[in-house]
Symmetry: C2
Subunit: 297 residues, 2 copies
């Protein structure tokens, strides 16, 4: 993608703001939009052009990126009134980097295809810190030639960029990732609670188990949080609930029974109900501490 | 432990046979016993002395190792008629290396303590291959001074030897390990089935996810099995069912709710009922393949 192409960025939240800043840093001329007008001012002050609607963005740009909270917001921004689809030019590329239900992705892709517009889905992992540092992991679905064309753009926001196949594949990969992570945290929490009640310290369990088959990235990153009682996000339980909801919706569409994803979603819902939804998902251990009585430490 | 001390070894199965061979290789004079007499002959042919009962073993030895299938067998071998407790000498050490319920361990430990006999629990992981190579991971509970005295013995059978605290702690650590491993395999299987149904190959998912927060030893070792359809054990589902049963028993005693361990136990039971109990626990993916219809590959 040549840098003279005008890039649009819709959604300037916790993730979208640092991602759009990195695009400006990389030399892309940027048109930005957010429902909350004040969010645009910081970007405008460093050279971006503000727009009045997603439609307005799409009129001006060859590439339009969306980074919004969930599937309904993608539908509104892309397919809704004054949405991208109303202004977008033939030959343009729409890249949705939100984490949403892959069936919404495909619905948007089909609508855009009728206008001669290509779509990629490119959800990210790595959180706010990864977004600020330009070190996000980005999983991309869509036509490979469109992926290749867009690669320089991705490289200005992320470090590990993986092409995973057809449109919706990026979202699906993200859901697979989130399902594994959620259940691995639950396994760790439940097992460490059992050990803790039997008198084993979290540190002793960590040292004895990390090198064996029970070892995982989740163990490496979450046990220190248990020990330090540090449940500041990180990745919030409420966001993980959203991802699991999308995983369950996709699983229902594909008729795949997902008992573990269902169960872990219920654990997180219970935590959210207790006012813990803004905690890091490593705080899932507090569910077991609550129902077993005790602390993993 | 000086090498002239007579060591007894009770239980010459898949694990016990190679472990006792390694003790002979390391120069320990060995007395062996197995319920099935013919299992002793191979050991006798390389220098071990055969015994007629656990009691007979314990009369002759300063250290008695048990390596039997489950908690009831430990109770029979140690506390039963013609068991270790009937012949054991004051000052001897009993080391149970079986994977059992830690409450049985403590019961045996208390009975032995009344005779002035010390006990360690030292379950292993690493399977038959680890036992043959003398590279087992050994998790040891009991008095630290007795652990230190027994360390040379453990070193002739294992590579990573961890002291975890009081008697029963080794068994509890093993259960914590087995719980995490079982649920991590379930998470991987369920998530990969969802991805597979959406058209993602196991290899693509593996490459996209292994470096991130979903990465784990379970992913590294089991995905290649999915891809190659290789469910030869390894570690059998039926053995994992036994470990989960012991984890649930321990959890009940400690009043720790373990919904994920319960659920994964039911998945494995269903597989065992379908004749898959002798498969590697990585074959858990076949549960999802069966209920979703399709293959993870």
């Amino acid at each position: 993608m040549e840098k003279k192409h005008m890039v649009g960025f819709i959604g300037l939240g916790v993730m979208g703001k640092p991602m759009s800043k990195n695009l400006i840093k990389a030399g892309y001329p940027l048109v930005v939009y957010d429902l909350i007008g004040s969010k645009m001012s910081e970007l405008v002050s460093i050279g971006a052009e503000g727009a009045g609607s997603p439609k307005d963005v799409s009129k001006k740009c060859e590439i339009i990126i969306t980074m919004v909270p969930d599937s309904p917001e993608v539908e509104i921004a892309v397919l809704g009134e004054n949405g991208v689809i109303e202004g977008v030019k033939e030959g343009a590329i729409v890249i949705d980097m939100s984490s949403i239900n892959p069936f919404t992705t495909r619905k948007a892709g089909e609508a855009l295809a009728k206008k001669g517009v290509e779509m990629l889905d490119a959800p990210v992992s790595g959180g706010e810190e990864g977004a600020i540092k330009g070190e996000l992991a980005i999983m991309v679905g869509g036509k490979e030639e469109i992926f290749k064309k867009s690669l320089p753009l991705f490289k200005s926001m992320g470090k590990s960029i993986t092409y995973v196949g057809e449109l919706g594949g990026g979202e699906m990969m993200k859901l697979v990732n989130q399902l594994i992570v959620a259940v691995n945290i639950a396994a760790l929490s439940e097992a460490f609670m059992l050990g803790a009640k039997a008198g084993l310290s979290a540190q002793t369990m960590f040292q004895a188990l990390r090198g064996g088959l029970a070892g995982s990235k989740v163990m490496e990153t979450k046990v220190p949080r248990f020990v330090e009682r540090n449940f500041a996000p990180g990745f919030k339980i409420d966001l993980h609930i959203k991802d699991l909801k999308n995983a369950l919706t996709a699983a229902q569409e594909l008729k795949v029974p997902v008992p573990f994803a269902s169960l872990v979603g219920q654990v997180m819902l219970a935590l959210s109900n207790k006012g813990k939804g803004a905690n890091d998902h490593g705080g899932m251990v507090e569910f077991w501490e609550d129902i077993a009585g005790g602390k993993v430490k």
